[in-house]
C-alpha cells in the first residue's frame, strides 16, 4: 500500500501539545515519540487527563501539534492547513467513535458512503453503492443496507461505523473507545472484526481504558501526564473469535442449566 521503505504507518517525533486557557498553560502532551508500523494493532491507554485523547486527535489529523513532527504514511502532516488535513483524513484515515456518530434517519448504505462524497475521486451513484455494499459485507451486515441507525442494535451500528471507516481503503483506522457504549459480548464482536481487518494488514490504533479490550491488541501504549508510561506487547493476546465461541458455549450451558 505504501512505498515507505521502513513500512512505518505513524511516526511521532517529540510531539508536544500545549493549550492556553486564560493565563494557564496546559501541557496535554509533553514530548511523545512513537513509531507504529503498518499492520500493527495498538491499544492506547491511560486515565482521563493522561493526554491520550489529545494524542489521538493529533494522530487523527484533527489537530496539529504545538511542536514536534508527525509523519503519516511517510508524509509530514504536522503543519498542514485545515483543508489539507481534511484531505489526509479522507484519504488515509478511518474513524470509529464511541457513540458511533452515524447520521440519524439515514440508511446504513448512505452512512457508509459518506466519506466517498468528500473524496477527490468522483464516483457515480452506482459505484458508491457497490463499494458501500462490499464494506457492509466485510463487517457482516449484508442485507442491512437500507436500515436506519434506529433500526439497528448498538453492535450493528458500530459495524456500520466500521464499514464507513473502511470505505476509503485507509492506511490507519482510529478507534476512540469503540466499545465504550457496547455490552461485553458485542464488544468482543467488534474486536473480532478489528482482529480480522488487522490480519488483512490494516493498521488499527484504538483508544480504550478497558484492559480486557486492550488485550485484543498486539501492542499496548499507556500514557500518563502527557508522556508514554509504558509500551509493551502483551504475552497473552486474546483471540476474539475464540472468545466468541467460548461465550456462545457458556451461554448454551447456562441455557441448559
Amino acid at each position: 500500500m505504501s512505498n515507505s521503505s521502513d513500512a512505518t504507518a505513524v511516526r511521532l517525533e517529540e510531539v508536544r501539545k500545549t493549550y492556553h486557557t486564560g493565563d494557564v498553560e496546559v501541557h496535554a502532551v509533553r514530548g511523545v515519540s512513537i513509531e507504529i508500523d503498518q499492520g500493527e494493532f495498538v491499544a492506547l491507554m491511560g486515565s482521563s487527563g493522561s493526554g491520550k485523547s489529545t494524542l489521538m486527535n493529533i494522530v487523527g489529523c484533527l489537530d496539529r501539534p504545538t511542536s514536534g513532527r508527525y509523519f503519516l504514511d511517510g508524509e509530514d502532516v504536522s503543519s498542514l492547513s485545515r483543508d489539507d488535513l481534511a484531505n489526509v483524513r479522507n484519504r488515509k484515515l478511518g474513524f470509529v467513535f464511541q457513540s458511533f456518530n452515524l447520521l440519524s434517519r439515514t440508511s446504513a448504505l448512505e452512512n457508509v458512503e459518506l466519506p466517498l462524497l468528500y473524496s477527490e475521486i468522483a464516483l457515480t451513484g452506482l459505484q458508491l453503492r457497490e463499494k458501500a455494499e462490499q464494506v457492509l459485507i466485510a463487517v457482516g451486515l449484508q442485507g442491512r443496507g437500507d436500515h436506519t441507525p434506529s433500526q439497528l442494535s448498538g453492535g450493528q451500528q458500530q459495524r456500520v461505523a466500521i464499514a464507513r471507516a473502511l470505505i476509503n481503503d485507509p492506511e490507519v483506522i482510529l478507534a476512540d473507545e469503540p466499545t465504550g457504549n457496547l455490552d461485553s459480548r458485542t464488544s468482543v464482536e467488534v474486536m473480532e472484526i478489528f482482529q480480522r481487518l488487522n490480519e488483512k494488514g490494516i493498521t488499527i490504533i484504538m483508544v480504550t481504558h478497558e484492559a480486557d479490550i486492550a488485550a485484543y491488541a498486539r501492542r499496548n501504549i499507556v500514557m500518563k501526564d502527557g508522556l508514554v508510561q509504558s509500551d509493551s506487547r502483551p504475552d497473552h493476546r486474546l483471540n476474539a473469535a475464540a472468545e466468541l465461541q467460548r461465550i456462545s458455549a457458556s451461554d448454551a450451558v447456562e441455557a441448559i442449566i
Binding site: 483543508d83 456518530n101 448512505e110 462524497l117
Partner: protein
C-alpha cells in the same frame, strides 16, 4: 505520496444530494420553513398582479374617455378663499363652449355637459338613473358607439327635442328584453322618445355602472330636467392629435379668462385638465397602491427569510455532531458551507416556486371574487424566483458559515 493536497473543486452534485437528504430527514420542519417563503412570494405575486390589473383597468378607463380629450370644469380647485371644487360654481356658460368651438382651431369636437339624476319611467316600470345632457358630438368624442338605433342630432340639440339615448342597464331595467327604439321614457313627467341604445361599457374604476345612464341633448336636459339655468357642469373638447393637447389647453385657458374678465394675477374660475394629466394622476394613484401592497408583501417575504435563518441555526446546532463527523471523514469547511447554503436555498426556491403558483391562483381567485382584474407579468415571476433564491442565500449564509467554522474536535464531542 506528498504534495497531493491540491484544493479539489466543490462537487455540487454530491453536495446537493447531501442537502436533499438532510431536508428529507425533517420533512415537516422543511415544509413549515418553506411555508414562510410560500406565503411571502405568493403575497408579492398576488399583490403585484392585482396592482397591475388595477392599473391596466384604470388605463383602459381613461382611454375609454376617448382620445385627446380636454375637460373644462366650472369652478376652480386652486381658487384662494372659497374653494368650490370641480363643476361646483356654475361659471361655464353655453357661450363659452361656443367660443371654444369657434376660436380654438385645433379643437375638433365639443360637447357641453350637464348632469342630473332622476326617476325615469315607462309603463308601470321606473328606475332611478343618471341623466347626462350632451351635444351631438358626444358619441364621437367619447368613442361610444350605439348598439342599436341612432344618436340624437344637432337639430335635436338646437330645438331641445324630447329625445334620448339610453344605456344598456337602464334599458333592461325599464323595458326588460323588449326593443326600446321608439319607446317613450317619462322623465319628470316629460315624455322622451328613445332613439338609440348604447354599447356596453361595464363598470368604471370607481365601481359605478357606466351603462346605467340616459343621454339627451344638453339643451333638453337644461330646459326639461334641470328646470332652466344656463350654466354647464363641464365642457368636453377633443383635439386632433396629442401634440395639440397642451397648446389647445393654453388657448382655452386664455380664452376663458378673457371671456370671464379675469384680471392678471387672479385665479381661474374654471379648471382645465387634459387626458394625459388625468391618466398620470390615476396611474400614480394605482402605482402608489401597488407599491404599498407590494411593500407589505415584501415584509412577509423578509419574515419568511428570517424563518429560514432561524431553522437553519437550530439545524446547525442540532447537527453539530453530524458536522463534526462529516469533517472527520474529510469534509472541508466550504463543503459544509455549501451544504447548508444549498439546504437554505432549496427551501427558499421550492417555497418560491410553490409561492409563485399560489400567488397566481390567489390573484385569479381574488380577481374573480372581487370583480377586479389581475395581470400577472412574467417579470414579476422571474423577480420573485430570483428574490426567493436570494433570500435563501442571504438568510442561509450566517448559519452556514457558523457550521463551516466549527472545530471538528469540539463538534464531534458536542452533546
Amino acid at each position: 505520496m506528498t504534495g497531493k493536497n491540491l484544493a479539489r473543486p466543490i462537487r455540487l452534485g454530491s453536495t446537493f444530494k447531501i442537502a436533499a437528504r438532510a431536508l428529507r430527514r425533517n420533512k415537516l420542519r422543511s415544509a413549515l420553513t418553506a411555508l414562510g417563503i410560500i406565503i411571502g412570494v405568493g403575497a408579492v405575486i398576488a399583490m403585484v398582479s392585482i396592482g397591475n390589473g388595477a392599473k391596466a383597468q384604470v388605463e383602459a378607463q381613461i382611454a375609454g374617455l376617448g382620445e385627446n380629450i380636454i375637460l373644462i370644469f366650472s369652478g376652480s380647485t386652486t381658487a384662494s378663499g372659497i374653494r368650490t371644487g370641480w363643476g361646483g360654481a356654475g361659471t361655464l356658460k353655453i357661450d363659452d363652449a361656443e367660443a371654444i368651438r369657434r376660436e380654438v382651431p385645433t379643437v375638433t369636437l365639443v360637447s357641453e355637459e350637464v348632469v342630473s339624476t332622476a326617476q325615469v319611467a315607462a309603463g308601470n316600470q321606473n328606475w332611478f338613473t343618471r341623466i347626462y345632457g350632451e351635444s351631438a358630438d358626444y358619441f364621437d368624442l367619447r368613442q361610444w358607439a350605439l348598439a342599436d338605433g341612432v344618436p340624437f342630432t344637432n337639430q335635436d340639440v338646437r330645438s331641445a327635442n324630447k329625445v334620448c339615448v339610453v344605456g344598456r342597464t337602464t334599458a333592461t331595467q325599464i323595458f326588460g328584453n323588449d326593443d326600446v327604439i321608439g319607446q317613450v321614457l317619462r322623465i319628470k313627467n316629460v315624455p322622451f322618445q328613445i332613439t338609440g341604445v348604447l354599447t356596453t361599457k361595464g363598470l368604471s374604476s370607481q365601481g359605478t355602472d357606466q351603462d346605467d345612464i340616459v343621454i339627451m341633448p344638453y339643451t333638453s336636459a337644461m330646459k326639461r330636467v334641470l328646470g332652466g339655468g344656463t350654466t354647464l357642469r363641464n365642457i368636453n373638447a377633443q383635439v386632433a392629435s396629442s401634440r395639440d393637447l397642451a397648446p389647445a389647453q393654453q388657448q382655452i385657458i386664455a380664452l376663458l379668462r378673457q371671456r370671464h374678465n379675469i384680471r392678471e394675477g387672479r385665479d381661474d374660475d374654471f379648471t382645465v385638465r387634459n387626458q394625459e394629466e388625468i391618466a398620470a394622476a390615476a396611474t400614480a394613484t394605482t402605482e402608489t397602491m401597488t407599491a404599498l401592497l407590494a411593500g407589505v408583501a415584501v415584509i412577509s417575504l423578509v419574515v419568511g427569510g428570517i424563518g429560514i435563518m432561524n431553522i437553519m441555526l437550530v439545524s446547525v446546532t442540532e447537527r453539530t455532531r453530524e458536522i463534526g463527523t462529516r469533517m472527520a471523514v474529510g469534509a472541508h469547511g466550504r463543503d459544509i458551507l455549501t451544504q447548508f447554503l444549498i439546504e437554505a436555498m432549496t427551501l427558499s426556491v421550492i417555497g418560491g416556486i410553490i409561492g409563485i403558483i399560489t400567488g397566481i391562483v390567489a390573484s385569479k381567485i381574488i380577481a374573480v371574487m372581487k370583480n377586479w382584474s389581475s395581470l400577472i407579468s412574467p417579470g414579476s415571476i422571474i423577480l420573485a424566483f430570483i428574490v426567493s433564491a436570494g433570500v435563501g442565500v442571504f438568510f442561509g449564509f450566517y448559519p452556514a458559515r457558523k457550521a463551516a467554522q466549527l472545530d471538528p474536535i469540539d463538534a464531534l464531542r458536542y452533546e
